[in-house]
């Protein structure tokens, strides 16, 4: 049983193509409970696509994905049940603009988890407090800074009690001075034991927080290891090249 191995997500020979374009070309990846995996790679290498396959925002062309005991790629699987337990944070926040911060966090709790209004509100306030927005709960998204919006988005995902969190360049759309607040929240989350797959360009963060770093290029994993191994002693030419550009 996957659970006994402590593996939350298992990806086997995953392929994804958009028409003639092969974006993922056989990706294998296991993520253990409590593990923080950071994915690096040049633009267009398929990082986002990989994450989006995990919660089926993209439908894999071939291969298998397991989430705990469930085969995600099984057509009979209830997709919404998986998504409910797999939190995702987007580069562009995607808050619901017509709802206040609090109601952004409450909506899916009410609709999907069928929590009562009181429950949902209590949990929303709790998570908004954890991401440092206790004083912004009634603000509309447009009245929040990008960093604050992203933290609301994180709270919104956490309120669903996910077993794993996917971060797709959560800080890339932010002004440099706002990046830190968001990274602090993510760091605290990692330290609290959350299983996380993080696509990011923040090397410092990756070094601090990641248990494992993965370098992807052209739809495949080129190299992986601890952050120290990957950053300080890359084995592949393409990894070196990429790190040379980014640092």
């Amino acid at each position: 049983m996957t659970e006994s191995n402590g593996v939350v997500i298992r990806i086997e020979d995953l392929h994804k193509s958009f028409g003639a374009l092969d974006v993922l070309r056989g990706v294998d990846l296991n993520v253990a409970r409590g593990e923080v995996v950071v994915i690096l790679g040049p633009s267009g290498s398929g990082k986002s696509t990989l994450l989006r396959c995990v919660n089926l925002l993209e439908k894999p062309t071939a291969g298998d994905i397991w989430f705990e005991d469930t085969r995600v790629t099984d057509p009979a699987t209830d997709v919404n049940k998986i998504r409910e337990q797999v939190g995702m944070v987007f580069q562009s926040f995607n808050l619901f603009p017509h709802l206040s911060a609090k109601h952004n966090v409450m909506l899916a709790q009410r609709k999907v988890l069928k929590r009562t209004k009181e429950q949902a509100e209590r949990i929303a306030l709790e998570h908004l407090g954890k991401v440092g927005l206790a004083d912004r709960v009634d603000y509309m998204p447009a009245q929040l800074s990008g960093g604050q919006q992203q933290r609301v988005a994180i709270a919104r995902a956490l309120a669903m009690d996910p077993h794993v969190m996917l971060f797709d360049e959560a800080t890339s759309a932010l002004d440099p001075e706002l990046v830190r607040g968001v990274l602090d929240v993510m760091r605290a989350l990692a330290q609290a034991g959350m299983t996380m797959i993080v696509v990011t360009h923040e090397m410092g963060f990756a070094r601090d927080v990641a248990d494992r770093a993965i370098f992807m290029d052209e739809g495949a994993i080129v190299e992986e290891g601890t952050p120290e191994q990957l950053f300080d002693d890359p084995q592949h030419e393409r990894t070196k090249d990429f790190l040379g550009h980014i640092i």
């Binding site: 998504r83 995607n94 759309a173």
Partner: protein
């Protein structure tokens, strides 16, 4: 037998004699009654305001008296008494004051001014008009008509007293008078047996109109042709209440037609986004044919066409349906553009939280769509409201039609200007509301810098990548929505201004 015959004869003679005696006694009395000499045929009053046998009080009217000269008589003069309270215009009215006529009686010598009372006399024999040399005089009590040569038996005399003013109250009047024959004998006549002249009080609007007509500044104002033609105060005050019903009917057309258009439009917007090509095709034909042809033409086709098919529905009802179907095509495009303007990130965020399609639609997509399309949909409402006027061309009673019918009698264009006011009464506030709403919407979706209560510098800047790209995506889609609607007319207020 003979005896009995005789007795019967005697009885017959006796009763005949008695009858003759009674007749002889009665005859002079009958002959002396005025009806025998001059029969009053009719008494009527006329004015422009009210049809039938009624006239309005407080307004100059024409009273016509017609009588026929009886056997072996000839009439030299006729006097018509003015009933109590009825006054002739003798030049003593404040606004019509004349140097010459300060309440003095008027006569045929004073003719030439329409403003004073006068008498028109006509004498006819059968269908022939008899030339008469008539003199007349009107004072506060009576109108007296004297004929140059006496009017003979069987001739008909028609006397019209023009510009008499009855008291401004509901009442009826019977004319009395007298006549003199060629022997100098004067007899009275009484028309009480005839149908009386019915007078009704002036409605307040008419009073106001008359009052205005008497004001020097109004006369001054009306002396300018532009003012007189487009802004005549008298027509304006009478048009406002007269057009009110027309305004309500126009409002009714759009208030019934537009809500009907919403579900139809929504249905066609869904069809246009359908996965089935056939449905998309049908919907696009519907939308493009309606948007590609004039509403005026559609009105003609439906309103004149349906009766030819034997479908006889009230014009007003048909008008509502034509407006509804026309508007539904524009709304379909507004809805479609609105839904498509929602960034796909909204669908993905909802999905990533485990929400199903219906939950996403009703809790996330539709609330955002509604807010976004309200300005464009309100503009469409305004356009439709104005377009109700086109229905006047096929005789649907609405504001434009009401105005046309008033203009037909008022001569000047003021009713149209008043109608414009009635249209603006709806369109101006709505335009203002749209503008306010768009501002609020822009604020809610991230175009202002102010959090509630506090002033705070927004941290997000142009350089911040994806979120800005999202905003411009949404705005582009809304621009598309606006231009989709803009096809109806260039005077389109909403949507396109979101920069």
């Amino acid at each position: 037998m003979t005896m009995r015959t005789q007795g019967a004869l005697v009885r017959l003679v006796r009763s005949t004699l008695l009858f003759a005696m009674v007749l002889a006694l009665l005859l002079p009395m009958i002959a002396a009654s005025p009806a025998e000499a001059l029969t009053v045929d009719s008494v009527t009053a006329r004015s422009n305001q009210i049809g039938g046998n009624e006239v309005m009080g407080g307004r100059p009217v024409r009273v016509t008296w017609i009588g026929t000269v009886g056997p072996s008589e000839s009439i030299e003069s006729v006097v018509i008494n003015l009933p109590d309270g009825v006054s002739p215009l003798l030049g003593d009215d404040a606004s019509r004051r004349s140097e010459k006529l300060g309440g003095q009686p008027v006569s045929q010598d004073d003719q030439g001014s329409d403003q004073y009372s006068r008498v028109d006399v006509q004498v006819t024999s059968g269908s022939n008009r008899i030339e008469e040399d008539v003199t007349w005089v009107i004072d506060n009590e009576r109108a007296t008509v004297t004929f140059g040569k006496p009017v003979e038996t069987g001739h008909k005399i028609q006397i019209s007293v023009v510009n008499l003013v009855f008291p401004d109250a509901d009442a009826s009047y019977a004319l009395t008078g007298s006549y003199t024959d060629d022997t100098g004998a004067t007899r009275t006549f009484d028309s009480r047996a005839m149908q009386p002249i019915k007078v009704v009080a002036r409605p307040p609007v008419e009073k106001l109109t008359d009052w205005l007509s008497d004001q020097p500044w109004v006369q001054q104002w009306n002396s300018f042709p532009v003012c007189q033609t487009f802004f005549k105060p008298q027509t304006a005050v009478s048009s406002v209440p007269a057009l009110f019903v027309g305004w309500l009917r126009s409002l009714g057309l759009v208030l019934l037609g537009f809500p009907l258009a919403i579900p139809i439009g929504l249905a066609f917007s869904f069809l246009r986004m359908s996965k089935l090509a056939v449905l998309r095709f049908i919907a696009s034909i519907y939308v493009n044919v309606i948007r590609g042809t004039p509403l005026f033409l559609q009105i003609y086709i439906i309103i004149f066409g349906l009766p030819m098919l034997g479908v006889n529905v009230d014009n007003y009802l048909l008008g509502i349906f034509v407006l509804a179907f026309n508007s539904s095509a524009y709304l379909a495009e507004i809805f479609r553009a609105g839904i498509q303007s929602i960034h796909k990130g909204q669908f993905e965020a909802s999905a990533s939280l485990g929400m199903n399609g219906a939950q996403t639609m009703f809790s996330v997509i539709i609330p955002q769509t509604v807010r976004r399309i309200i300005p464009t949909a309100t503009s469409e409402f305004i356009l439709l409201y104005k377009d109700t006027s086109l229905l006047a061309a096929v005789g649907v009673m609405e504001l434009m039609m009401f105005s046309k019918s008033i203009v037909a009698t008022s001569i000047d264009m003021t009713p149209y200007v008043v109608a414009a006011g009635y249209y603006l009464l709806v369109t101006l506030p709505l335009t203002k509301i749209i503008a306010a709403f768009e501002k609020k919407l822009a604020a809610a979706e991230g175009h202002t810098d102010e959090p509630p209560g506090k002033k705070k510098k927004r941290a997000r800047r142009g350089s911040s990548g994806d979120s800005t790209a999202e905003d411009s995506h949404q705005e582009n889609a809304l621009q598309a929505a606006a231009s989709a609607v803009g096809a109806r007319g260039t005077g389109h207020a909403a949507g396109g201004e979101g920069s």
